[in-house]
Amino acid sequence: MDFASFASQFVQQLVNGVSLGSIYALIALGYTMVYGIIRLINFAHGDIYMLGAYVGFYATTMGKLPFLPALIIAMVVAAIVGVVIERLAYRPLRNHPKIAVLITAIGVSLLLEYGGMLLVSPQPRTFPPVFGNEIYNVAGIIVNLQQIIILVISVALMIILTYVVNRTKVGKAMRAVSFDTDAAKLMGIDVDRIISYTFAIGSGLAAAAGVLVGIYYNSIDPLMGIMPGLKAFVAAVLGGIGIIPGAMLGGVLLGVVESMVSGFISSTFRDAAAFGILIIILLFKPSGLLGKNVREKV
């Protein structure tokens, strides 16, 4: 392969990877926020993403709503569901050993998946064409409108999130709770409410990702959340779990690496590559790319 064609393929894969990566980033944000605040890997998070996609689907097909209202409704519904799940399934177990909560999370995940299959059938659904898909050819590299929209919306959501976390009172409370829960309680912060907010925001972001994916790939099914959920977790760990910019970085990085592996090696090892990255990061820098090492105290 001569250099010009290699370079053009490389850039094309990069473009592919960044779109994929922004989706992972949106989901990873939810994981990282929840883990940062209550040290729980919410296995059901990938299924909230699926839920968001379905709500968006019903909003655009049965509700005949245009894109933005559908997106917002999906985010709101998912936020509510996320809060309900936290209330019913995770809060009672907050002082129990970690293994119990993890198993409950797995149970909730399975319930959402198979309950979904029961309700909406395992048949994949297709999104109606919500906005057109022009193709732009920039010096041999192909980018289409949907990819641009995904990138724009992801970046917009991330900017909003960063603003909320760093500049608002709620955000400050969230950071306080994730830093030291007991101290936060002593300072008068209603920890339960803050945790609910965290779940709400994380779930909303995942739902946004779900709707964007539904439009981009044009096909949704009840089991669509499993792999992206796991990969988003890898992305969160890669960037540094509990660190918000880390999730964004990890997501995009993972998307790019996946595209490169698919494009230059073989696409069947793509999933294995994602897990491989996880293992390597956990072994060599478990706090992630942007994280700092914290000694565990007795």
């Binding site: 059938s121 048949q123 297709t126 192909i142 696409s267 069947t268």
Partner: protein, 391 residues
Amino acid sequence: MKLRQWKKIASLVIASVMATAVLAGCGSQQGGTDTIRLGANLEMTGGNATFGGSAANGAKLAIKEVNSKGGVLGKQLSLVIADNRSEASEAANAMQKLATQDKVSAIIAPIASSSVMAGAQVNQDNKILAISPTASNPKVTVDPATGKVRDFIFRAAFIDPFQGSVMANFATKSLNAKTAALYIDNSSDYAKGLGQFFKETFVKNGGVIVSEEGYLQKDTDFKATLTKIKSKNPDVIFAPGYYQEVGMIIKQSRELGIMVPFLGGDGWDSAKLPEIAGAQALNNSFFSNHYSPDDNSAAVKNFVDAYKKEYGQTPDAFAALSYDATMMIVEAMKRANSADPVKIKDELAKTKDYAAVSGQITLNATHDAVKSAVIVEMKDGKQTFREKVNP
């Protein structure tokens, strides 16, 4: 203290639910002497749930129609569905249950070749036939260890070697393709089989395979590999997988500027394909199928209308083939004039020129369906007839 009581009640409830389930499992099935029971060992959950679900619908529709016309041999038919969870060992388990616990007269075998083979010994031991709507691996009906035909296993579809070569010949002769790329579903032995036979015939015809790539079921992003394929400039791309992934592949290919023809097999057949890919994207793509909806035959129209009425969707190939498999069992029962499993098996093996929804079916010596293939071209999101290929 109230919490303690709730805990006790909860544990009692869990315990009784489980006890009931155990008892239900232990209880033997009542066999009605006024109904003839058919079994269906299908993928109702798991990775292949969409296909198994369609097949179950097809079988149920067939039984409903037969029953509304008075049943068979004066008795009504009933269907017992056992879920094999898209997994080979569960398929054996389900086959065992249908054969020994539910005492059925014949069984609709799983969609996936590996699942049919896993349960094959059970059919042999209990002398109850299994006919798969779609399993296409040649080893399903011919035991590779002994080279002999499996007595009690049949299929309603043609096998991979035939389908693969049909498309290869079409590519070389009708599309004048000299180079081809293969993009195969590596998690499906059906797709791999088709790919292998396409390659053999294509190369025999003088063509060159410039790229062989794979994907896995449930993948959604194919752009990276498609970019790679694009750089190799093939004349055609053969993508013999299932419609969910193929739809996305074709859509993403067009978005990347890949405009060459796409070719595939009967796994493409679904009303969802143009929905997923977009009608325009599908132009210039062709696939081999058992029948064409352009076919204005009464059989096809009646089936499609009845299926739509019952289930609210257009039937796909899995539903059609399963419907045919069920009807073939019923016809065999009528010819044998008995519900005895062995007699049904003997008559089924003699099926000749049966006018099925999916074409004229004759079962040959290796229990495979011999029927013509139709090459379908997608035009503006509709399936149109292009060519017929006789075996």
